[in-house]
Amino acid sequence: MTAGTAAAEAVGTAVVSCRDVVVEFGAARVLHGVSAEVRQGRVVGLVGESGSGKSTLAKAIVGMNRIASGELWIDGEEVSRASRSQRHRLYRKVQYVPQDPYSSLNPRRTIGQTLAEAIDPVGGTPRRHTERIAEALEAMWLDPSDARKYPHEFSGGQRQRIAIARALLVDPSLIVADEITSALDVSVQAEVIRVLQELKQDGERSMLFITHNLAVAQEVCDDVVVMLHGEIVENGPTERVFRSPESEYTQKLLDSVPGGPGFSL
């Protein structure tokens, strides 16, 4: 890389991009120099099996895993070169939605309190942000009056939508959704998928959608990144990857989906 400006230009409209990102847990290297990007308005699926490093990469992007080497660009700024306070601001632009809808909301706080905290982490109260909270809930097909309820009064799918609403309230450049449909029953999963598709319609939200379920990835994502053993083996538009995969491993994955066209016992 010649200069910072050249790098910024190369990133272009990418909201988040990784260059040769390496993540190590102690002596074990779990990501071997991964490069990928999410462009403005795209939903990128990160698929792979357990141990592929997809979740590790997602957590590295939101700052939960330390990046040993490589670059992480968020909105045209490189994170490791940013000062402590800048870094904090950058990480607020990538919002993480965790897998388990039952542990992602504080059971002792109302939905309104939880959402107000996302708007203003220091002094946010439901009363001060009534309108924005109501808007956020309605966008996720929930009722504004739900703000007064506690998490246990909602189903898994509803909680997951509340968690998405919380992420959206921060107005992030990228939402990182880590297996958010995996713990749900199929009918509930369908409801979350429909919400995501609606969210995609305006073409403004960028999302990194981590999943092991290829059918869900096909339904939701514009682009797909396939990972295996801490490396990217395939990367391209969803339609192309599912129609004519370049990697043997991707083909094997596709053929392993029960009920899919390539499956046989």
Binding site: S103, P121, V186, H212, P258, G259, G260, G262, L265
Partner: protein, 563 residues
């Protein structure tokens, strides 16, 4: 509604609270009423117990009962303040440690652990010896000595909270540390901390009395229960009754605190306090075989009920099903559909607090509503669970666990059982079977463990295998292979399989017949072809099929058409 049914005051909690109220009332009322009898010097020294003074008088002619009642106030005040110091500062230290940066936290935790290793009473003795003896000293000494223990417990709880998704999310949203502590961390720990505080109160009470007892606490002319015990030492041989009063009071108050703590804990976790009522199985072990019934498994009107708040709650509402020999029957449904309850009832493994009834529940010749002979049960049915990570004991080698059924129920010797097992492992695609037998479960991958589980089921040549979501925890590429093993088991050994899954794709590929369950009822029975071509009649099945995204690969589909 349901909350109101839970008794708010369990007997233990009630007893504790009453005892505690009595102690507090004593501390408030007694001193003004009986101070004269307790403090005035008289000539009635060392009087034995009498109607006027139940525990006699001491060396100065003061009434022992009155002195105990008066001393209760000081002991109670000291204990409350000392416990408050331990608890409040303990919480502050414990929470701050978890909010500190990683390296600082590690150092603080190590220091804290060293402090905990040092007995509190000795710490308190040292502090009390350094400062001038007195009531304030005793309170400070005990309060400070109790901080590390409480801080350690708080840090443990804080660690759990700090690993929860909502806490991590709040932290990354930029919520300041102090708010993280007050909004997310402390409320989540409040309940266990409150319960632990009662324990702290009880131990502090005993130890603060001990300080006074050895003369480092309350000094004359003041007196608390500990110093009363000390006073009674002088006359222990002539007037032993003098020691009884303070002793009883100390025990009563600490028991009260313990009862309150236990009661709170039971309220916090009603399951732990639940009485266990074993199910009473029906008498006859052998099933009455209806003539002409060729099916391996016959279930008629199976009803499974649990109880909620003392009321019967039916979870499975009269299911009929049968499984033929060498047939793979799938049950598909969402959570709460009763599919696992049905399967476990057929295996005779429904939880003890569930009530299983039915017109018929037969596997082979066994009546599963009764208590079939263990050996027959072990050889007829084998079960494969969802999570290959928890089906094996982590402390035993695979070999010992896999050969257990062969050795205990089928009378095989050690070496022979091993030989059979190695063959079985190889047959289900476990690589290096001999080595696997010597490994511990954690050394195998999930797929390998699930294959080993199937292998252990194969060797007993069961007539029926019940598999409850056996591939749900596996990766798709591993799942294909494990599903193939199920198919092969049926084809080669003629094993009938009851396959429970939430994945319509999987049951459609594997099963001969599929039951769709919803809310404890079978809504539809389908052939796999019907699922594939979507010829389903029940609206629920249709909505279920519509909900599942199906992989469509235009390219791959073309290839199949050309075939």
């Amino acid at each position: 509604m349901t909350e109101a049914r839970r008794p708010l005051l369990r007997p233990g909690l009630l007893i504790g609270l009453i005892l505690f109220a009595v102690a507090v009332a004593t501390a408030i009322i007694a001193p003004p009423l009986v101070a004269d009898a307790a403090n005035t010097l008289t000539d009635n020294r060392h009087q034995p117990p009498s109607g006027g003074s139940w525990l006699g008088t001491n060396a100065f002619g003061q009434d022992n009962v009155a002195r105990v009642l008066v001393a209760t106030r000081l002991t109670l005040i000291m204990t409350v303040i000392a416990s408050a110091i331990s608890v409040v500062l303990g919480v502050v230290v414990g929470v701050s440690i978890w909010l500190a940066p990683g390296r600082v936290r590690e150092w603080c935790l190590r220091i804290l652990e060293s402090a905990v290793a040092y007995p509190t009473l000795i710490t308190a003795l040292i502090i009390a010896a350094v400062l001038l003896p007195g009531a304030t000293t005793a309170v400070i000494a005990m309060g400070v000595a109790g901080i590390p223990g409480f801080a350690r417990v708080t840090a443990n709880l804080a660690q759990q909270v700090s690993n929860s998704d909502y806490f991590i999310t709040a932290r990354f949203l930029g919520v300041p540390a102090r708010r993280l502590a007050t909004r997310h961390m402390i409320p989540a720990m409040a309940e266990p901390l409150l319960i632990l505080s009662t324990t702290v109160f009880a131990t502090t009470l005993v130890e603060i009395s001990a300080l006074s007892f050895v003369g480092l606490g309350v000094q004359v002319p003041q007196y608390d229960l500990g110093s009363l015990l000390n006073d009674s030492l002088d006359a222990l041989y002539t007037q032993p009754i003098e020691a009884v009063g303070p002793a009883i009071m100390i025990v009563l108050m600490s028991v009260a605190a313990m009862f309150v703590g236990d009661g709170l804990a039971a309220n916090a976790n009603p399951r732990a306090a639940r009485a266990w009522v074993p199910r009473r199985p029906q008498a006859q072990a052998a099933a009455a075989l209806a003539t002409g019934d060729e099916a391996l498994v016959r279930v008629r009107d199976l009803r499974v009920a649990g109880s909620k708040d003392g009321e019967r709650l039916e979870l499975v509402h009269g299911i009929d099903l049968h499984i033929d020999r060498a047939e793979i029957l799938g049950i598909v449904g969402e959570s709460g559909s009763g599919k696992s309850l049905t399967a476990m009832s057929i295996a005779g493994l429904a939880a003890d607090d569930l009530d299983v009834q039915g017109a018929e529940l037969r596997v082979g010749t066994m009546n599963m509503l009764g208590t079939p002979a263990p050996a027959e049960l072990a050889q007829t049915i084998s079960i494969i669970y969802q999570d290959p990570g928890t089906t094996f004991s982590p402390s035993l080698k695979m070999g010992a666990q896999l050969t257990e059924v062969l050795r205990t129920h089928m009378g095989r010797g050690r070496a022979e059982a091993r030989r059979i097992m190695v063959g079985a492992l190889a047959s289900v695609g476990v690589t290096l079977p001999e080595k696997r037998m010597r490994q511990y479960p954690y050394e195998l991958s999930g797929g390998m463990r699930q294959r080993a589980m199937i292998a252990s089921a194969v060797v007993t040549e069961p007539a029926l295998m019940i598999a409850d979501e056996p591939t749900t925890a596996l990766d798709v590429t591993v799942q294909v292979d494990v599903l193939r093993q199920f198919r092969r088991l049926r084809d080669e050994n003629g094993t009938a399989i009851l396959f429970i899954s939430h994945d319509i794709g999987v049951v459609q590929e594997l099963c001969d017949r599929v039951l769709v369950m919803r809310r404890g009822e079978v809504v539809e029975e389908l052939r796999p072809e019907q699922i594939r071509s979507r010829e389903v009649s029940h609206p629920y099945t249709r909505s279920l099929l519509d909900a599942v995204p199906v992989l469509s690969a235009a390219g791959a589909a073309h290839v199949r058409e050309e075939d």
